[in-house]
Symmetry: C2
Subunit: 400 residues, 2 copies
């Protein structure tokens, strides 16, 4: 199953490259249990990252500005997370990628030695910045912080991620909004394909050992476009591929359908990453369609607003209904929040505007996501994913 | 030195009472090294607090709304803090003292088993609430949260603190602003004295075992009034006494002078608590004048604004000067922040508005305060407080 040959002894090449091993495949559906291995490497002079591995399917908490909001790296790690996502657009603007490089790279800067995936900035220049112009060779935009003018090209987006010291770089892409006509989706996909080739050239040309570049499949909801996108990306022979442009407002059934049709187009032997998804239900459905890697702001962002995920669905703990509820957020949870504090206390902290509320809720929801992924991995390893998915979806629908 | 006789065997009375032992007195100055012991007690049905002791001089972090802002109880405890202050006024308004009682008391509610001192609310009804009327038997005020009307009497302030389950209750007092004429200060002191007697009666009448009531010396900057205040409080034979109404805007030298003259009026065998003070320099000076117990929002509040305390004085880490400074906040500090993160990272987090910035800065400043207190206690135990004070003040003046 593994595209690269490994003899167990390890050559210079096999130890220096990011590597993906498929361990189990579900007897029904397309679910896969795998492992991404990241080699030891010198991230900056004198600062060496150890060998690291990520069991898949995996969920990456989002650390937009070089921090998973409200938490320390130790807490993130204790939840079971092994790999983080950080946002290239944000870090490019503040504190600046060259500053991060001078400070020894993102791992050293934020105190996280695990693998870091940086997005390309393509989504943020569309969603956050004031986008001035999309050109054939890049985009012009204004900072959401101070309005300053910037230009991103595939080459620069790649170089920024290299400066940050990321383990997995994402190819610079352009976004297709929902809904979009075929022509618009075709033009976006075409541009994204050309940009991916430019990113690959920059990444390979500068030869950063021990890192990976992932290409991003686009094409809106059009299967033919996603097929063409995949073919053009696969021709670049990248270490991994992502499905982009989903969860942008389309009905959830349409997303599942596109995934079912388009995720299998991606090479079986490479990790498949579904960007920006999603709810626990979505993760179960996407795993069933062959996805290995996820990121999403939902557990962290919702938690800060007083809404947490539990094994029995969403719980809006800031609601007055919980003001004398002595139970933990989720009686089935082992996180530090559930071990110590009641819903009543959390409710009070939210009502009083206390920062600790956001911390404790975030800790819990991240633990819930990591436990979900661990459950998914065990089920896949033991050939019982279909039953696990059915039971978990039923429990999620019960109501907390 | 110890007013209550203890034979080491323990009688019902000696184990059920809060107890203060003087361990060492400084050969020069009035500095004292002591220990406050809190007995085991049932804080609510089925919830038992263990026996706890607090080494003095001690600094109590402020947990206004049943949380030391941004931190978990474990983190507060890891910094070396053994006793917290919580605010009666805030908790009375939200979540409500009867709710806290129904939830098992403040210790269980917030996950802190160490001693908790609650202030009386007297300061907050003056400084935070819209104060409508001071009457002979209490005050009328409007909530700073929703404008609702309330009335506090000495009896109610005591009952609220009992409902919260606090270990040390403060007698309801009234505040004398700076500057104030003698007549105003006299009237405030007179009222505070009468109210202290009413609080003592409520506290004793309901016989809450294992808790202590502290009276508050008032009198503005007038030594004769503070003398009269003390005499009237001491007549109540309370377990401890506080110096109130300082650090309210008067020149710092005046505060030191009042302390030098008025702290020694308080009984030697009882703990002496200086409310709301202060900077590290102030704590050193106050210990030298015979104070045992402190609380202050400075380390926590300033930290949240990007300014921390270090062994070489204040450091405003949010300043651009630190954006590429790879040193920890304080190279002499052992806190989790200083062990892991650079000033550059902290500066980035503050610039980016990240909550983790406030957490990490708070952790550090609390550790600094607790380490200062530990240094003070060791110096007192070893008879070298005068030298310790001189050296510490000199280092604090160096600049971080």
């Amino acid at each position: 199953m593994n595209e690269t040959a490994h003899d167990g002894v390890g050559t210079n090449r096999s130890t220096a490259d990011v590597r993906f091993d498929l361990l189990h495949e579900a007897p029904s559906g397309r679910g896969r249990r795998g492992r991404i291995q990241f080699p030891q490497r010198e991230a900056s002079p004198g600062f060496r990252l150890p060998e690291r591995s990520v069991e898949t399917p995996a969920f990456m908490p989002v650390g937009t500005q070089a921090t998973v909001k409200t938490l320390t790296p130790d807490e993130v790690s204790a939840s079971g997370a092994r790999m983080l996502l950080a946002n290239t657009y944000h870090l490019y603007l503040r504190p600046g990628h060259e500053r991060v490089r001078r400070l020894g790279g993102l791992h050293k800067f934020m105190g996280w030695n695990g693998p870091i995936l940086t997005d390309s900035g393509g989504y943020q220049v569309h969603s956050l910045a004031r986008l001035n112009k999309i050109r054939d060779d890049g985009v012009e935009f204004q900072s959401h912080i101070d309005g300053s003018r910037h230009r991103f090209t595939p080459e620069l987006a790649t170089r920024v991620q290299v400066a940050l010291g990321s383990d997995v770089l994402m190819a610079f892409d352009t976004m297709t909004p929902y809904p979009s006509e075929w022509d618009r989706a075709r033009a976006d996909m075409e541009r994204t394909s050309r940009w991916a080739a430019a990113c690959a050239e920059t990444w390979r040309g500068e030869g950063w050992p021990g890192t990976a570049l992932f290409g991003i499949q686009q094409g809106g909801l059009y299967a033919d476009l996603r097929r063409e996108s995949t073919e053009r990306l696969v021709a670049l022979d990248l270490p991994g591929y992502a499905v982009g442009g989903l969860a942008v407002g389309e009905p959830i059934e349409e997303m599942y359908d596109v995934l079912a049709e388009c995720a299998p187009l991606l090479p079986e032997a490479k990790p498949r990453y579904l960007m920006g998804v999603g709810r626990p239900e979505d993760i179960l459905e996407a795993v069933d369609r062959g996805i290995d890697l996820f990121d999403c702001v939902l557990p962290t962002r919702n938690a800060r607003k007083g809404s947490v995920f539990t094994s029995r669905g969403k719980l809006v703990v800031k609601n007055a209904a919980y003001q004398e509820d002595e139970r933990p957020l989720d009686p089935d949870c082992r996180c530090p929040t559930c071990r110590t504090f009641s819903r009543a206390y959390l409710r009070h902290l939210f009502a009083a505007g206390e920062i600790l509320a956001m911390r404790l809720a975030t800790l819990h929801s991240l633990q819930f996501y990591q436990d979900l992924m661990e459950g998914i991995r065990s089920a896949l390893s033991e050939g019982r994913f279909a039953a696990f998915k059915t039971e978990t979806l039923a429990r999620l629908a019960e109501g907390a």
